[in-house]
């Protein structure tokens, strides 16, 4: 599998959207050559994650104690807040449903690709469906699931077109996995670990435990894959990965698509306020200050991890800090 190396610009020039677009246009179209079809284990650690995932399979119907939810333990305000917090969680989790099949097909379109990532992704897709179902169902259980954000501007942040990006021949699979599995899934895992730490409700606890276990595998997949591939990268491949990560951090994290308190102009203030109440009620959320700390720690660790693979990542921890928002919403 080749990283997209049609040109070899440095990371700085790749920050320019015009350079990135031009580079993508020059990439060869994706053409599948199915044979030889490798199904034997090649990336043993990823095959191991696939086997672990099959063994750890669960069923939202059977393994989540839905009947243990006691609405009388919470105020009407807390229930309303939790319904919004978990609706927002469903909107986010849902992103995997179109994205995972797209990157799975992309792996299949790459000539000579190993089967291990493909097999792993088929299970990840199921797990994302269970996560989405749980968040939707819990939002309905505590109040009522909302099928869209109150703000159209905030709603627009969720239209990320990841499925199109996965098919984009000008973005290498390695860069895609670095952005989505290592960095974005990594942030998501740490946020969910935080929700789990602060949850006391038995249903929220049970869901979050299952989700965190699955997400740990999703993130491990990303880093293991990158570690396996890193030896084959040249400077251009590293520059591309670096640029794609910086772009994703700018366009997705700092835009507020992941952490509502980073959204500009107060477009997600209702979510931020709801999360604060949900966290206090032990229904599975974090305050702005807590989320901010988690994100900052993750970004620092990810930067170190990427540096060991020879990939630079901009240090934007100060820009991802909660700042004044802590005083307002935390």
């Amino acid at each position: 599998m080749n990283a997209a190396t049609a040109v070899a610009p440095n990371a700085q020039s790749l920050q320019d959207p015009k350079v990135r677009r031009a580079r993508r246009r020059r990439a060869d179209p994706l053409i599948e050559r199915r044979f030889p079809l490798h199904l034997e284990p090649h990336m043993q650690t990823i095959r191991g994650l696939y086997h672990q995932a099959k063994t750890a399979h669960w069923d939202p119907e059977k393994h989540i104690p839905w009947a243990k939810f006691d609405a009388s333990a919470y105020s009407a305000e807390q229930l309303r807040a939790a319904a919004l917090s978990w609706s927002r969680r469903a909107w986010t989790e849902y992103g995997g449903l179109p994205e995972t099949p797209a990157i799975l097909i992309r792996f299949c379109l790459e000539h000579g690709g190993e089967s291990d990532p493909k097999m792993f992704l088929t299970v990840r897709g199921s797990e994302e469906a269970w996560h989405t179902e749980c968040c939707w169902r819990f939002a309905d259980l505590v109040g009522k699931y909302s099928d869209r954000p109150a703000s159209d501007h905030y709603a627009g942040l969720f239209n990320q077109d990841f499925h199109r990006e996965a098919f984009e021949p000008g973005i290498s699979v390695d860069a895609y996995i670095a952005v989505h599995s290592a960095i974005l899934d990594g942030i998501d895992l740490e946020l969910n670990r935080g929700y789990l730490r602060h949850a006391t409700d038995p249903v929220a606890l049970s869901m979050l435990k299952r989700m965190v276990q699955d997400k740990e595998r999703h993130v491990a997949f990303g880093w293991v894959y990158l570690a396996e591939r890193a030896a084959g990268w040249d400077d251009a491949a590293r520059a591309e990965i670096s640029a794609e990560i910086d772009q994703a951090i700018e366009g997705l994290l700092l835009s507020g698509a992941i952490c509502a308190w980073l959204a500009p102009g107060g477009i997600a203030d209702d979510i931020v306020a709801a999360d604060a109440i949900t966290r206090q009620a032990g229904l599975g959320a974090m305050s702005v200050a807590e989320e901010s700390a988690v994100v900052a720690q993750f970004l620092g660790e990810a930067r170190d991890h990427l540096a060991r693979l020879g990939v630079a990542m901009a240090d934007i921890r100060d820009r991802a800090a909660a700042g004044d928002r802590v005083a307002v919403s935390g």
Partner: protein
């Protein structure tokens, strides 16, 4: 196959909201729940110690390796191509039940490819390409990815042809294979695959039951034509059954491997046994589709006497 089409789903931007996750097609939501509840692991669910490769001749083992490798290539098609349907369900806001169900379906296809790979491997080694390259055309693709991403191809036509035709044919052949396969491990692998395929087929009919009453006569004619194309250009070209492929040295070699595997009780069938099953499938599909408002044409094939 290129992922690029003239009017492709990939040209459309995402519009996630309103994000409906409610139950809209209860039969399909039930299939999703069943699939979640009935997961299995190829490594553990097959009694591998009952395969006993040592009880077979070199010729039999080689033929069976080829047969099970070929099965794996076919199952892989559903990993490489069918997930495009999931993208379409999401991007076009089709019933949430379909989006949930298809995630599990893709995982099941991976299990099927894995179990077929494991049978071949344990018999002496998985074979990663058709021995004769001329056979690649028959097994390389059933064209579903292209259909799913092509916005000019109605979804109903894709589901009807892929699921209600192609998968139904495969399902009947599985039933036949389970009856004639004597090796316990090979038989169990087939049973496990068939257990999932029941749901895959049911999904297609449940979806079409919802949709068919809303189709115009022109749209219905498009569905009928897509089914005809799937049967004529894919199935009758040997996608699932080698003996139906064009009569070439490559096809003859594959069918000979099938015969040896069949005689060893390791999982394949032969033209004479499969032919009536195939014809019966086509007739059954034709009858079931009459409820949609059309009667499929009669088909012909050089290896089958008369129209069927």
């Amino acid at each position: 196959m290129s992922a690029v089409l003239s009017h492709s789903l990939l040209d459309e931007s995402e519009s996630r909201f309103p994000l409906d996750l409610n139950i809209r097609i209860p039969k399909i939501r039930d299939l999703y729940r069943q699939a979640t509840a009935k997961q299995w692991d190829p490594v553990k669910a097959v009694p591998w110690d009952e395969l006993h490769p040592e009880q077979y001749s070199d010729e039999q083992r080689y033929a069976a390796r080829l047969y099970w490798s070929r099965r794996a290539w076919g199952e892989y098609g559903a990993i490489s191509e069918s997930p495009a349907l999931q993208i379409r369900f999401c991007q076009q806001h089709h019933a949430p039940d379909m989006r949930f169900f298809f995630t599990l379906r893709t995982q099941e296809e991976s299990r099927h490819a894995e179990v077929c790979y494991l049978v071949a491997e344990k018999l002496g080694g998985y074979i990663d390409a058709p021995v004769q390259s001329a056979f690649q055309g028959s097994v390389a693709t059933h064209g579903v990815r292209k259909m799913a991403l092509d916005l000019d191809m109605p979804l109903e036509a894709t589901i009807a042809s892929l699921v209600c035709a192609a998968e139904e044919i495969a399902f009947d052949v599985f039933g036949h294979l389970i009856k004639i396969t004597t090796n316990p491990a090979a038989k169990r692998a087939l049973q496990l695959i068939m257990r999932d395929e029941v749901r895959h087929c049911a999904f297609g009919w449940a979806y079409m039951e919802e949709r068919v009453k809303q189709l115009t006569p022109g749209q219905l004619a498009g569905v009928e034509q897509a089914v005809v194309n799937m049967i004529e250009k894919v199935e009758l070209n040997g996608y699932h059954s080698a003996w139906l492929g064009p009569d070439t040295p490559a096809t003859r070699a594959e069918t000979e491997a099938d015969r040896i595997t069949y005689e060893a009780g390791l999982g394949a069938t032969v033209e004479s046994d499969e032919k009536p099953v195939f014809i019966k499938s086509i007739k059954r599909i034709r009858k079931q589709m009459q409820a949609w408002g059309f009667t499929l044409k009669q088909f012909t094939h050089p290896k089958i006497e008369g129209a069927f």
